[in-house]
Amino acid sequence: MSPELINLIIQATGESLFMVAVSASLGTLFGLPIGVFLATSRKGELFAAPAANAILGVIVNATRSTPFIILVVAIIPFTRLVAGTSIGSGAAIVPLTIASTPFIARLVEGAIREVDAGLIETASSFGATPLQVVLKVLIPEALPGLVLSLTLAVVSLLGYSAMVGAVGGGGLGDLGIRYGYQRFMPGMMLAVVVVLIALVQTVQTAGDYLARRVNRRLRHR
């Protein structure tokens, strides 16, 4: 493979990592509080607000059930409003963030719900405010699950980021489609797939390691 093509791969990998890193961070920023709220706002819970919980649940489900490629196209006007353009890696961050936020929210909700309700009651009986319960009990106790959830989210985002290539989003997917598919370069296609596999493996291994590190529940030594 020529140095030009290798440069293209390196550049595209950088774009993909940029899209994933920014959208995963933003998705966590929005998804974490939404997930915590979903996990604590049913009737009788810490921030009991059953109506808000139900409405938010419907919105989250609606976003999650929209196929990503359709979401990307459907929100182009919004993307243009936020990013000034609908083409390129920067613009792709908008749909990636919108897709990852409800996904992360549901994963966070699941991880938080795993925390023993007795611990919430314990902290409350010590006079903890609901916010203290979240910060001192729920999030630290759910941390191993949260790390695994975020790992899953990042892996999914890598896949999504390849998809935005189809609509001019840049990155590895874009490279694979334009060179590998449209210019009949199977070598390029293979390279793109290999890089994606390597990225997913790295992310998953790192996530598993981190989750083990923060898990104090059953530690065999």
Partner: protein, 373 residues
């Protein structure tokens, strides 16, 4: 107690002030006034009345047991005392303030004067022993230095300083409960609620935890409320006991009185568990309804008070009847004998009648179980 409780919220930690047992105030630490708790119907489940017309006063500085089977209303009682729930009617007074009327910040402040320990310890798995003890202090907004000093003090108090940097998953049940006790005492509460705190522990560990609670009560003067379904726990530690059944208080009083003169069926069933009043299986399996020639009649005698130890000798001396001791257990509770004897006497009807009337005369509760060959 009021003074050092308010210190807990604002001032740096100090050594425990010695509280002599005789400086126990007359005012009740926990008082229920006509309390009822009904959980409304929810999602097709009918409404449930967990507690009804509950009135009691738990004296300051004492250890009081609250005993009941599951579903008797114990959990509701606990949650009313620590303010996690509000009574449907009535008032709950803890340390002079009506906790059932408080909410928000005032309630959270009041909750800091109520320590609590749990059956399953409820320690945070993500925190070390020391950091678990620090939790209520962080919640109360103590400074780092104050917390560090207080935590060291508490680790020593529960005798587990060597485990300070261990995570709960690395500790035994007894060690976890010691951490739980230290955590409950961190903010210097005036009352300690123990919710089945020894139910998940083996007998030996239970004993050491109960000893620790007794020491804490003696040395710190903390009022302790033991919520349990085990009479042995009440018997070992409490001076007074409240017996709950189906949301009502069915009996209450000094432990020794309750043990020697239980009135309610539920109390009696609790007692027979701990006193071994049951007839041994090896004997009950051989019991027959009809006497056999040369066989024995089996009579069970409940000992609630005095004289159980000399009963066999007295039957022999005063009635000239040879009574065989088939099984026996007599404990001493509050200076009173409590237990049961199972006697075998000659199966002749006249002899049995004489023995039974002798027993009644001497105020033993006795019944004929049957006959053995």
């Amino acid at each position: 107690m009021n003074v050092h409780q308010s210190l807990a919220a604002s001032r740096p930690p100090e050594a425990f002030p010695p509280v002599a047992p005789d400086v126990v105030s007359k005012e009740a630490m926990v008082r229920f006034e006509a309390v009822s708790k009904t959980y409304p119907a929810y999602r097709g489940k009918p409404s449930v009345t967990a507690l009804q017309d509950i009135d009691f006063a738990i004296p300051r500085g004492a250890i009081t047991g609250v005993i009941g089977r599951s579903g008797a209303g114990k959990s509701s009682l606990v949650r009313l005392i620590n303010g996690l729930e509000k009574p449907t009617t009535g008032r709950v007074i803890v340390d002079g303030s009506d906790i059932s009327a408080l909410s928000g910040r005032e309630l959270r402040l009041a909750q800091r004067s109520i320590g609590m320990i749990f059956q399953h310890f409820n320690l945070l798995s993500s925190r070390t022993a020391a950091d678990n003890i620090a939790l209520p202090l962080e919640i109360a907004g103590w400074s780092k230095a104050e917390i560090a000093a207080r935590v060291s003090e508490l680790l020593d108090l529960v005798d587990i300083a060597d485990k300070r940097n261990r995570y709960p998953s690395e500790l035994s049940g007894g060690q976890k409960q010691r951490i739980g006790i230290a955590r409950a005492l961190a903010t210097r509460p005036s009352v300690l609620l123990s919710d089945e705190a020894t139910s998940a522990l083996d007998p030996q560990t239970t004993r050491s935890i109960l000893d620790l609670l007794a020491n804490i009560n003696r040395e710190l003067g903390v009022t302790i409320i033991l919520i349990t379904h085990e009479m042995s726990v009440v018997r070992q530690l409490a001076k007074e006991v409240i017996v709950l059944d189906a949301g009502h208080i069915v009996e209450r009083g000094h432990v020794a009185d309750i043990f020697t003169h239980p009135q309610h069926a539920i109390t009696q069933s609790f007692l027979s568990e701990v006193l071994g009043d049951a007839v041994p299986v090896s004997l009950s399996s051989r019991l027959q309804q009809q006497p056999t020639a040369g066989g024995q009649a089996v009579i069970r005698v409940l000992v609630r008070g005095d004289g159980g130890d000399r009963l066999v000798a007295r039957l022999s001396r005063e009635l000239a009847i040879d009574a065989a001791l088939l099984s026996a257990r007599i404990d001493e509770i509050g200076g009173q004998q409590v237990g049961s004897l199972t006697l075998g006497v000659p199966g002749d009807e006249a002899v049995v009648a004489r023995v039974l009337s002798f027993l009644v005369q001497h105020r033993f509760s006795a019944e004929r179980l049957g006959y053995v060959a």
